[in-house]
């Protein structure tokens, strides 16, 4: 089933793509990038929109597993303006 989170995660990036991340005290290794896409922010819906520094959101849907755990599908989101990573969804 799908579960939706908004938890901040720490992500290790190598070669321009996520290689691993830490979430709720566990380390996950990325085995495969399943999908990658970006979207722009809906800047016009913001209270004080800043269309000069619009930034983008980058999504990585990856197959990853914690040490010794079962592999699952995780969706990681990167916000370019804040340089913050979020675990946005997971399927297990």
């Amino acid at each position: 089933m799908t579960r939706v989170f908004g938890d901040p995660v720490e992500v290790r990036v190598t070669g321009g793509r996520p290689a691993g991340f830490a979430w709720r005290g566990r380390r996950y290794a990325v085995r495969r990038v399943l999908e990658h896409w970006v979207t722009t922010r809906d800047w016009w819906r913001e209270r004080e929109p800043d269309a000069d520094e619009p930034g983008e959101r980058e999504y990585w849907r990856v197959e990853a597993a914690a040490n010794g755990g079962e592999p699952g599908v995780y969706e990681l989101r990167h916000d370019s303006t804040t340089d913050a990573w979020t675990l946005s969804r997971l399927w297990d």
């Binding site: 990658h36 722009t40 800047w43 004080e48 269309a51 980058e58």
Partner: protein
């Protein structure tokens, strides 16, 4: 290496200029760059120029939409598109013809292609099938069979085909790219990389998103955006490789990059060889064009009786020499042919601009101005040092301009002719409208915000908010609007839509369609997608056929003179030294005259006191920013009136500068001064003059001039003095040939005003050639003693006409009336009654109602109790009757014509009693006239404020010259013009003209008072102003204003609280904050400073359009102001 790039010339789609794109590509170290704008080649020539400047090689193509195979897919993902690139000269020809065919196939403004059309023009074309192509869509939808079939179908067109791999990093982009590549590999079709570029860098994507929704006329929402990811920017090779690698793997990415570069190199176009730039493509004028030209010039010499006159043959030989060296004989023959064609239609036609300086033009009959008599030089027009084709401009009657176009198309052939286009670009108001719409603001609010701004550039929006007092006082400074303004500024200068250039016509040979894509203009003319600069770069002959309203106006005047008196007037033969005409000009009663009706010009003629046409040439030339900026006007006037002797910088220059009292006024004089002091010859002098328009050029020419002049023995101080004058003159000077060609219609219009006054006003009112609203001209007619005859269904014609020494209001003035209605009304007269008119003229109900309210039926019901209100009711009844029983009473001849006014009209279902409604008050009549005709015909609107103005001691315009210089007075009137021209100080000075029924009053508002005055000046229609009398000339007087008020507001206060209330409002206007400078001035090397707000249309609605809404706030039970 980019093969798929849209610039801003993809209208409402691309956001970067060709130049910015080429520069960025060069920075990235790319060797080539393609421009493939949507639906056309609008930016192609600019791209080629930009690439040349950036040192890279241009590739050209177009992004074209496919004609939908089945229309039944509403809400689909939008049109399918392919990119078509041109390879070599054959490819360029095919591309031009394909784009032209695409525009001919779709509705206007909607270019569509089919595979059959590509097949028809396949030579040298490369078709790129990307994600938006039919093939790409089939791959997206995983319809493999259809995808393969489409690929085959494209290959069958005969054009080369390649698959374009794009990864914008949207959801599904990567896998789709991989599938497209796999299919291409399977089918053996080459694959290349593309990025569908729309803007320069990622941060520009909000602009593209706003353009997406502005194009679709929807508010911003993710589902309306073509750009979801912000990745449609000009990526570097490395970024392109990385995007490709993410989708297709590293090895494939390297392959794709290499294939892309190979195709790009192959498609590089050579501007000369492939595009035909750098050569002239003239119409075929038969064998031996130079011999023909010589023969026709000699014939002209004989025809004009100049055969053995001194100087003419030598000058002719000199000009023919240059023309021969340049190979332009066909050009002159063609233009002569065109001018003759226009004149043969009986259309008034005059040469303007530098072309008037050429004897050849005069002898060929292109122009009627003898350059030797006016001392004009040829080199300003055509010289060995001037690159490109010369420019000949013809002024024709504005009302018959399109007729002239049609004749030219007919004569030179539709294949060899096209109009020139121009790009309308985003400016402040249009940018605010589109961005405001995208952000979902209500339309009325957007309209109010946009109109609050003067007609400035979009990038000046936020600066204007702080600079301009009329905006500082508005409530436009808030956070939400700020976002709109910021994005609106980023739209600055982007093309919005293509329009017909107001005058340019290309005359060429049947290869024209191989050189330029053509689409249809709104008016139905074939129009090149190139603008005037592009056309010149492409070596095409562009003839400017300029519609001049004054020419139409004079033609109407001449026709009216003939109709009323039988006299056939030849304007060209009118004596040029008519004293009464000059006396009228000297007294500045020149409203409606060509070139000399503006407040500044009326002031100048009153000071200069012209006595000859040559004086008018000087007058027109002096009234330019240059002479004003370098303070030439006063020394000139002093010398002219003998207050001080003319000073010549050196005796050698006296012959050159004698006519202008020692000052430099004309380009021609710059040429001669340079020639006299350096001995460089006129041709090189013209080259130097043109270099002086840039700051670097000016420096270089200065160094050269000093060296050469010193070497020829001129002393240091003299050389410096002369150079200072020349430098100050800079780029602002005026071409004397141009002034001379303007002076003639100036004189002719003044002569007509003086001697055929009523016919003159009929012409001016019909064709509206000037800067003032028609009501000003109408008032001027009253001052000249011309009676104004009211609108009358039995007498008014389409245009104004002379009747018993007066002028009759034209039917065309009625708001909303159609040409067909005018024709029927005039053709079916006379009318015996309103009912008769209703049955036979078949005008729409709103038109009939407006005719009634404007008094067009008054004459029919004179001496009866029937008033306009009664007639208005009756229009309603007639309308209801004809809609209920369409056949009732409509058979002509069967019915009495309703002469018996007491009985109802036949066919009417209800009885409308007549003569019971109160007549309209004079104020209501004037209000109706202003609303319907846009002018106060029955009486001047200011007359309703007489009591208030007398109570305040307001000085009428007529009496202003009697007041002492510097005296403080009040004036009032209807605002008829506002201007913010460039002035010497670089201030934004507001000049406003009021009209108070006794004449115009000119007001000057300096920056120091604009804090409290600007908003009122721009926002009000009726004004009261306080100021000091300024006396610039011998008879003229104007006002340096310090305060002003909306007269309507004061009038209301007066009605409610008497004169005390009025004085309280006037006292409350408060002291000015002392005036901060408005905007940052640009200072030229001459010391001449220009305000960024000089010569921009002002804030608020157009002055010419008349009163904003209701004039009088009618309180209950009141019928407006009482009679004075």
């Amino acid at each position: 290496m980019h093969l798929h790039v849209a610039s801003a010339y993809s209208m409402r789609f691309g956001a970067a200029s060709p130049k910015a794109l080429a520069d960025r590509a060069a920075e990235f170290g790319m060797r080539t760059l393609a421009l493939t704008d949507r639906d056309g080649l609008y930016g192609a020539v600019r791209h080629v120029r930009a690439c040349a400047e950036a040192g890279i090689a241009p590739v050209l193509g177009a992004d074209l939409a496919l004609l939908p195979a089945d229309q039944a897919r509403p809400g689909g993902p939008g049109l399918e598109r392919v990119v078509v690139l041109a390879e070599g000269k054959a490819g360029w020809t095919s591309l031009c013809r394909l784009v032209t065919a695409a525009h001919a196939a779709g509705e206007r403004g909607q270019a569509r292609i089919t595979r059959a059309m590509v097949a028809e023009h396949s030579a040298g074309l490369v078709v790129l099938l990307g994600p938006s192509s039919d093939f790409g869509r089939a791959v997206t939808e995983r319809e493999r069979g259809r995808a393969v079939a489409l690929l085959d179908a494209w290959r069958a067109t005969g054009a080369e085909v390649a698959v374009e791999i794009v990864n914008h990093h949207g959801r599904g982009d990567g896998p789709r790219a991989a599938r497209m590549l796999a299919l291409a590999r399977e089918a053996g079709v080459p694959a290349v990389l593309g990025n569908g570029v729309r803007y320069l860098e990622g941060a520009d994507h909000p602009v593209a998103q706003v353009l997406d929704v502005a194009r679709k006329l929807v508010p911003l929402h993710r589902r309306h955006l073509d750009d979801q990811t912000g990745h449609a920017y000009l990526k570097s090779e490395e970024e392109m490789r990385r995007s490709a690698a993410l989708a297709c793997g590293l090895d494939e990415a390297d392959d794709l990059v290499a294939a892309t570069k190979r195709l790009a190199e192959r498609c590089v176009l050579d501007p000369g060889r492939d595009l035909g730039m750098g050569r002239a493509h003239l119409p075929d004028t038969g064998p031996e064009p130079h011999g023909q030209l010589l023969a026709r010039c000699l014939q002209g010499l004989r025809g004009r009786g100049l055969e053995r006159r001194e100087g003419y043959e030598a000058r002719l030989a000199h000009e023919l020499d240059i023309i021969g060296r340049k190979g332009f004989a066909s050009y002159f023959l063609t233009v002569a042919d065109a001018a003759a064609l226009i004149r043969d239609l009986g259309i008034r036609c005059a040469i303007r601009g530098s072309g008037a300086g050429s004897l050849v033009n005069f002898l060929l009959g292109i122009g009627d101005l003898d350059p030797l008599r006016h001392d004009l030089v040829m080199e300003r027009f055509l010289a060995d040092s001037r690159p490109g084709l010369p420019d000949i401009d013809l002024d024709v009657e504005s009302a018959r301009r399109l007729e002239a176009y049609e004749a030219l198309f007919h004569r030179f052939g539709t294949d060899a002719t096209a109009c020139v286009s121009m790009m309308e670009t985003y400016r402040a108001r249009s940018a605010i409208r589109d961005v405001g719409g995208a952000m979902g603001l209500p339309p009325q609010e957007i309209d109010a915000i946009a109109k609050a701004f003067p007609h400035i550039r979009a990038r000046q929006i936020r600066a204007a908010l702080t600079d301009l007092p009329e905006l500082r006082r508005s409530n436009l400074n808030n956070a939400q609007l700020n976002v709109i303004f910021r994005i609106a500024e980023r739209l600055d200068g982007l093309p919005r839509h293509i329009a017909l250039h107001p005058c340019g016509v290309i005359l060429s040979n049947p290869t024209l369609r191989d050189r330029t894509p053509v689409e249809q203009s709104t008016a139905g003319f074939p129009m090149s997608q190139f603008d005037k600069d592009d056309v010149e770069t492409m070596g095409l002959l562009k003839l400017d056929v300029i519609g001049v309203r004054m020419q139409s106006s004079m033609a109407h005047t001449v026709a009216e003179i003939e109709r009323t008196t039988g006299e056939r007037l030849d304007l060209a033969a009118v004596p040029r030294a008519d004293e009464p005409t000059f006396e009228m000009i000297r007294s500045a009663r020149t409203l409606g005259c060509f070139q000399i009706e503006s407040p500044g010009q009326r002031e100048l003629v009153a000071k200069l006191l012209p006595r000859t046409v040559d004086d008018l040439v000087v007058d027109i030339s002096l009234f330019r920013p240059g002479p004003v900026g370098s303070d030439m006007v006063n020394p000139f006037l002093d010398a002219r009136h003998g207050r001080r002797p003319a000073v010549f910088p050196h005796p050698d220059l006296e012959p050159v500068l004698r006519e202008s009292q020692g000052i430099v006024v004309w380009h021609e004089q710059v040429l001669r001064v340079l020639d006299v002091m350096t001995g460089c010859g006129l041709s090189d002098a013209e080259g130097m003059r043109r270099r002086m328009s840039s700051d670097e050029g000016l420096q270089a020419v200065g160094t050269w001039f000093r060296e050469r002049a010193h070497a020829r023995g001129y002393d240091g101080p003299t050389v410096e003095r002369v150079w200072r004058t020349l430098a100050a003159f800079g780029a602002f000077g005026f071409c004397k040939a141009h002034a001379a060609s303007f002076a003639l219609p100036t004189y002719q219009s003044a002569w007509l005003k003086r001697h055929h006054t009523a016919a003159f006003f009929a012409g001016v009112l019909s064709h509206d050639p000037g800067m003032y609203p028609k009501r000003v001209i109408l008032d001027d007619a009253r001052h000249f003693g011309v009676p104004i005859l009211p609108l009358d269904v039995n007498h008014s014609q389409a245009l104004w006409r002379v009747e018993d020494g007066g002028i009759r209001v034209a039917l065309a003035e009625v708001r909303g009336i159609s040409e067909v209605e005018v024709e029927r009304i005039a053709g079916r007269r006379p009318y015996a009654s309103l009912g008769d008119f209703w049955r036979r003229a078949h005008a729409s109900r709103p038109t009939v109602e407006r005719l009634v309210l404007a008094g067009a039926f008054d004459a029919l019901y004179r001496d009866t109790p029937v008033g306009r209100r009664d007639l208005l009711c009756r229009v309603g009844a007639l309308d209801r009757a004809s809609s209920v029983r369409p056949s009732a009473g409509l058979v002509a001849g069967q019915l009495p014509l309703g002469d018996d006014l007491a009985t109802p009209e036949p066919g009417m279902l209800e009885d409308v009693p007549l003569g019971e409604l109160p007549p309209m008050a004079p104020s209501e009549i004037v209000e109706a006239e202003l609303d319907i005709l846009g002018m106060d015909v029955s009486r001047h609107v200011i007359s309703f404020y007489g009591d208030l103005l007398r109570a305040l001691g307001v000085v009428p315009a007529r009496d202003l010259p009697d007041r002492g210089k510097g005296e403080e007075v009040l004036v009032a009137g209807v605002k008829v013009a506002t201007q913010t021209p460039a002035v010497r100080s670089g201030q934004r000075v507001i000049f406003a003209t009021l009209d108070d029924a006794t004449g115009p009053v000119d007001l000057t508002f300096f920056e120091s008072v604009q804090d409290r005055c600007a908003a009122t000046v721009f926002g009000s229609w009726l004004l009261l102003a306080r100021g000091r009398v300024h006396k610039p000339g011998f008879r003229a007087a104007s006002l340096t204003a310090s305060e002003c008020w909306d007269l309507g507001v004061l009038d209301e206060a007066w009605r409610e609280g008497g004169i005390g209330a009025v004085r309280r409002i006037m006292a409350a206007s408060g002291p000015s904050s002392g005036g901060r400078p408005i905007g940052r001035r640009t200072t030229y090397s001459s010391g001449f400073a220009v305000s960024p707000y000089a010569d921009v249309g002002h804030a608020g609605p157009q002055v010419r359009r008349g009163p904003p809404a209701r004039l009088w706030h009618a309180s209950q039970g009141s019928s407006g102001p009482t009679d004075p």
